[in-house]
């Protein structure tokens, strides 16, 4: 029995490597990493039966009257934490959250993604994801505007080298933890960096994104630097996105690849894209879940604004990259609206659900939009049938609320809690008087 061997492996590794502390990781509904630590002595029991904890302390988990839940470690995700020194070695393991009777807990995003992946498997598909994640390095926040590192002032001497050194150390750490990196580079904006992860199955990738955000911030913090995944931290500078390269595999074969199509896209790929296009507005509140997310989705910064697709048009929502050496395994579609502040488990869930709906219903893919849509007026866009993504969190929530697709993908528990929580966030924002308003109106009106 594989699971028993995995548990045995984990227990033996803890013993051999002298692990002092095992951190149990899980994710709340908003995508924040949550953790509690247990001693190695408790691990055997935890692997068998799970560890109970009070779910009402976690955002979006239990209501008070049914508050206790179980964290059940997934032994295949057990990793020694490489940045903790050997003497006090620590490890982490991702957990699924279950009710006390062992059934999946509906408030757990990882369980939600598992359920959506099972739906794909029932159709014969395994969902693969590769994210390109952007983020900024800043001086530690003081309450004022963020200070990019490579704009001098913060580090007087080798200011340009420090973020690059941080990125390299981050990549080394990620690779040690079994998260392979495809590319990395300094982005156009000051102190903005991008790291592209190699594709893997969606559950592992959602775990990897959680680990990624943690490692990036941890390595930065060790050097007195603040790393942020805030979608749009600086007003006149491009924001941070998390473009997702998506594909479905049917066993050995890439179900998105077709030899006889000019773009090498199969019918399945086109229907999947059509599903994303038809349901894009409904899932945007999940892929772009903060007030600030919508300040990234504006014209002029290579972020998508219009719901369209093209082979090579970076202003569109979906891009179809040309695979290297026409490799059939590399045929994929790139979904460009998500930002790195999303909950990856939920974002992958709704994206997959939208794509699978397109396949199930045999949606027709609209025509390619290869012109620059930022130069088109509304009449032209309407003539072409090109819609816009939601303009604000409020817009996005309103569209999401009427979506049975999103309700089914997330399940009632998370769907309702998410809407409640995000409406409250919007209300908080709506009453905020911004500097923009003060500057513009205080004197003149």
């Amino acid at each position: 029995m594989k699971l028993d061997q995995q548990r045995e492996y984990v227990l033996r590794t803890v013993e051999e490597r002298g692990i002092r502390l095992v951190r149990l990781w899980f994710t709340d509904v908003l995508g924040n990493l949550k953790s509690f630590a247990i001693s190695p002595a408790e691990l055997d029991n935890a692997l068998q039966d799970g560890m109970s904890f009070d779910g009402s302390s976690i955002d979006g988990f239990s209501r008070i009257q049914e508050s206790d839940v179980l964290a059940i470690p997934d032994p295949n995700t057990f990793e020694v934490l490489p940045w903790v020194d050997q003497k006090g070695a620590e490890a982490r393991v991702f957990c699924d959250v279950a009710n006390l009777d062992g059934t999946p807990f509906h408030g757990d995003p990882r369980q939600v993604l598992r359920r959506n992946l099972r739906a794909a498997r029932d159709l014969g598909y395994e969902f693969y994801v590769a994210p390109d994640i952007e983020y900024f390095y800043f001086a530690p926040p003081t309450g004022g505007p963020p200070v990019p590192l490579d704009q001098g002032g913060f580090f007087d001497l080798t200011s340009a080298d420090i973020p690059t050194a941080l990125r390299k150390e981050t990549i080394r750490t990620l690779e040690t933890m079994g998260i392979p990196v495809e590319y990395s580079f300094h982005e156009d904006a000051p102190s903005q960096h991008e790291i592209d992860l190699r594709h893997t199955d969606a559950l592992t990738m959602a775990d990897s994104v959680m680990t990624f955000r943690f490692v990036v911030r941890e390595i930065a913090a060790l050097h007195g630097v603040h790393a942020t995944f805030m979608p749009k931290p600086l007003e006149h500078i491009q924001g941070s996105g998390m473009h997702l390269h998506l594909s479905l595999f049917d066993g050995e074969d890439n179900a998105f690849h077709a030899v006889d199509d000019p773009y090498n896209l199969s019918t399945v790929a086109k229907q999947f894209m059509a599903g994303l296009i038809r349901h894009a507005a409904e899932i945007t509140a999940v892929t772009n879940q903060t007030v600030n997310s919508y300040k990234r989705l504006v014209p002029g910064f290579e972020a998508p604004v219009h719901v369209s697709w093209a082979r090579n048009n970076r202003s569109g929502l979906i891009r179809v990259p040309v695979p290297k050496r026409a490799n059939p395994l590399a045929t994929r579609v790139e979904y460009r609206s998500p930002d790195p502040a999303c909950n990856p488990y939920l974002a992958f869930s709704v994206i997959l659900a939208a794509g699978l709906r397109g396949i199930a219903e045999g949606y027709e893919l609209p025509a390619e939009a290869d012109a620059n849509m930022f130069e088109m007026d509304d009449a032209m866009l309407e003539k072409l049938g090109i819609q816009q993504l939601p303009q604000s969190l409020s817009d996005a929530l309103r569209t999401m609320e009427s979506s049975s697709l999103v309700a089914d993908a997330l399940g009632d528990h998370i769907f309702e809690w998410f809407l409640r929580n995000k409406r409250a966030e919007w209300r908080g924002y709506k009453t905020h008087i911004s500097q923009f308003e003060t500057d513009r109106y205080l004197r003149s009106i």
Binding site: K2, Q5, Q6, E8, Y9, V10, R12, T13, E16, R17, P75, N76, T77, F78, E79, V80, P82, R121, E126, Y128, L174, E175, T176, G178, I179, P180, V181, R198, H199, T200, D201, T204, F249, D250, G251, E252, L329
Partner: protein, 229 residues
């Protein structure tokens, strides 16, 4: 190795203490008066080692050692026994033996020295240690190391690396690896293998990532091809 090690023993017959010690420790052994006889009567797979007493008949003893070492495939793990006054004889003969013991010997010491010489084959703790270049895998502790430093792997990564490293030079298809390491029922399909290979390479680091080679349109190979030099 499933059978206990086979030892060639000199002189013939051996002292009764030596015969008893070897029997009690469970070795298979046979005594010979001449090196050539030992070579002629070697078991299938050759001798695993030898115990040679040089105290009473040093010339005969060292001749035996030379005979065992002379061949294309010399016998490893040769233990010689010398009297205290003969210790200078060891000088300039380092190539002829792997360990030594003073005669008259203490049975417990001889047993300990032999056990240590054969620990990789005998000890249940070290069963099936897999080594290739800087990489070592110990299946009984589930631990891997690279250049002496621990290499932290997940269970599936460990099983995959062990499978490949046990068969260096051999090319495996994804399907073969999948069924051997994951079992046929695993849903993810052969792409799972690619994904885990990438993770393994990442953990091996740039310097050692090429321990696992991609053989285009076939699968993967660990280490150097058997056919290239």
């Amino acid at each position: 190795m499933s059978q206990p090690p086979a030892l060639a023993v000199f002189p013939s017959p051996p002292p009764i203490d030596l015969a008893r010690t070897l029997d009690l420790a469970g070795y298979r052994w046979k005594d010979f008066a001449l090196g050539d006889d030992a070579i002629r009567h070697q078991p299938d797979g050759g001798w695993d080692g030898a115990v040679v007493m040089c105290d009473d008949d040093p010339d005969g003893g060292w001749a035996m050692c030379r005979a065992l070492r002379r061949r294309d495939d010399p016998v490893g793990r040769v233990l010689v026994m010398v009297a205290g006054s003969q210790l200078p004889d060891l000088e300039l003969r380092d190539d002829l033996f792997d360990d030594f013991c003073l005669a008259p010997f203490h049975p417990r010491e001889l047993e300990a020295r032999l056990r240590h010489m054969f620990w990789r084959q005998m000890g249940p703790d070290a069963e099936g240690l897999v080594e290739y270049g800087p990489l070592a895998l110990n299946p009984s502790t589930y631990q891997a190391s690279l250049g002496g430093r621990p290499l932290d792997l997940t269970y599936m990564e460990y099983e995959l690396l062990k499978y490949l490293a046990q068969n260096p030079g051999r090319v495996f298809s994804r399907e073969t690896i999948l069924s051997a390491v994951w079992g046929y029922e695993y849903f993810g399909g052969a792409r799972t293998v690619d994904v885990h290979i990438r993770r393994l390479r990442a953990k091996l680091g740039e310097e050692h990532a090429n321990l696992i080679q991609t053989v285009r349109s076939v699968g993967y190979r660990f280490g150097q091809s058997r056919w290239s030099s």
